[in-house]
Symmetry: C2
Subunit: 279 residues, 2 copies
């Protein structure tokens, strides 16, 4: 496995591979890898000649009061995991090269970025779209892999990729969960033992909501109320929304394919989770 | 020469050529071709295996009161010129395919797009950057060619291409002028005979300003005043600015490489022109 930090060097690597006719699967991450990330690598390895992973905690997608500085980082451990998963190249650029002093350009997705997480994290999805757009231009992947845990991120990336005609196929892989159901996330490491145990309530609430829907409850207000009531003992609700998976607009009735998305603070840790349901 | 209207078909064409190892020079235009465009084609043909030209009057870069509807179009004449210039492919997509109903994504370059022409054409450079970003993703050119006549457009395109790491080299070719000095532009066709003759004042004013600078006048206020006074008999000044060519910020002293940029209304027709000077 190679580790490259310079944009120019990675471009040269990519050009060489392209000339050899190799297809490239790309897994963008912020590092602190867990099994969720590795499920993306497995798909990328299976479907392409090469798997390129980026490890980059992107300052542009963090708000001024968010956890950019304390976001967990451990390149050594990440490299071990990446090697064991047969990643071909890790690209971990510096902030200085990614955002030069006179950097100003942003990719703006519009309304989609201002809903759900966008409400409490203004500018977040501009930062996400911009860095992913940059990576697509640097890595020129055939396919890029994202996790369904970040459902809104997946929708935003699908949207700007299509709107701007990027020649990249977007694949969104299922949420990988801990044995008790908590969605895997690098931020889970922030949780105290008690908070970790409380956090399971999010998955439980989603599962129970699913059962209610299967039993014939198709009223989003009632389902949302149920989820809020279930979670609020253990965490502070940021949002619970039942929306169209692509437009992220609220649905009036739970019918067809819908997304239940929640954001909750357990202690000081903001966690997100979601469930796609076919009703 | 081929003419392709569908994005998918052009992508297939590009993929075929890429697999054959062909390099692609790209000349984006709004059609109604003149010798300025053809100078870009000549450079593209010389420096690449293939020359792809787009002909597309991009609605996104026109304001609601601007000349989108009456912008001159003549695909038949354009095709003749393109054939004689050995263009390999003309890509002329439909608005419907370029901007699907739910299209929302924009490429935003920041301050650079709000100066000079950006002041009287708000949103114009967002439209330009977005459509060029889309074309870069569709055509995947090695080199893209633009005219120096649109100096701010060139600066905006250089900027977003670099900020977003597009793997495309940007070349900006010199202004091509009519025999009396008027910069070639598809919009010159709007001019009445009298206006056409008046319009020469723009080039004359720039040339005289150049001489004044060569004679040792390095004060931008004085040079600007001179240009304004020279042009104002024949046209309504939108702006006259003496700026850094990359940042488009006003210079305090005319020293080193600077850009004199003007926008003038002759009758109802808004014309732009500029001169790069090394002082």
């Amino acid at each position: 496995m190679q580790l490259i930090k310079s944009i120019n060097k990675v471009k040269k690597y990519i050009n060489r591979q392209k000339k050899l006719g190799k297809t490239i699967g790309f897994v963008p991450t912020m590092g602190y890898l867990h099994d969720g990330h590795l499920s993306l690598v497995r798909a990328a390895k299976k479907e392409n000649d090469l798997c390129v992973m980026s490890i980059y905690v992107n300052p542009l997608q963090f708000g001024p009061r968010e956890d950019f500085k304390k976001y967990p980082r451990n390149l050594k451990a990440d490299m071990k995991l990446a090697i064991s998963a047969h990643v071909d190249l890790i690209f971990c650029p510096t902030d200085k090269e990614m955002y030069e002093q006179d950097f100003t350009t942003l990719i703006e997705v519009g309304a989609l970025g201002n809903l759900l997480c966008g409400l409490s994290r203004p500018g977040h999805f501009k930062g996400v779209a911009t860095v992913v757009g940059k990576f697509f231009n640097i890595i020129q992947p055939d396919v890029a892999y994202f996790g369904q845990k970040d459902a809104q991120q997946a929708a935003v990336i699908r949207k700007f990729t299509r709107d701007l005609n990027y020649p990249v196929k977007i694949k969104v892989m299922p949420i990988v969960r801990e044995s008790d159901g908590l969605a895997m996330s690098s931020r889970n490491t922030y949780l105290s033992l008690e908070e970790r145990s409380d956090a399971v309530i999010i998955y439980k609430a989603l599962q129970k909501a699913k059962k209610l829907i299967e039993l014939g409850n198709h009223n989003p207000t009632i389902i949302k109320r149920f989820i809020v009531d279930t979670i609020k003992e253990k965490g502070k609700i940021d949002y619970v929304e039942i929306v169209n998976q692509d437009t992220l607009e609220r649905v009036k009735k739970i019918k067809g394919k819908i997304l239940i998305a929640v954001a909750v603070r357990i202690g000081k840790v903001r966690l997100i989770d979601n469930l796609v349901i076919k009703a």
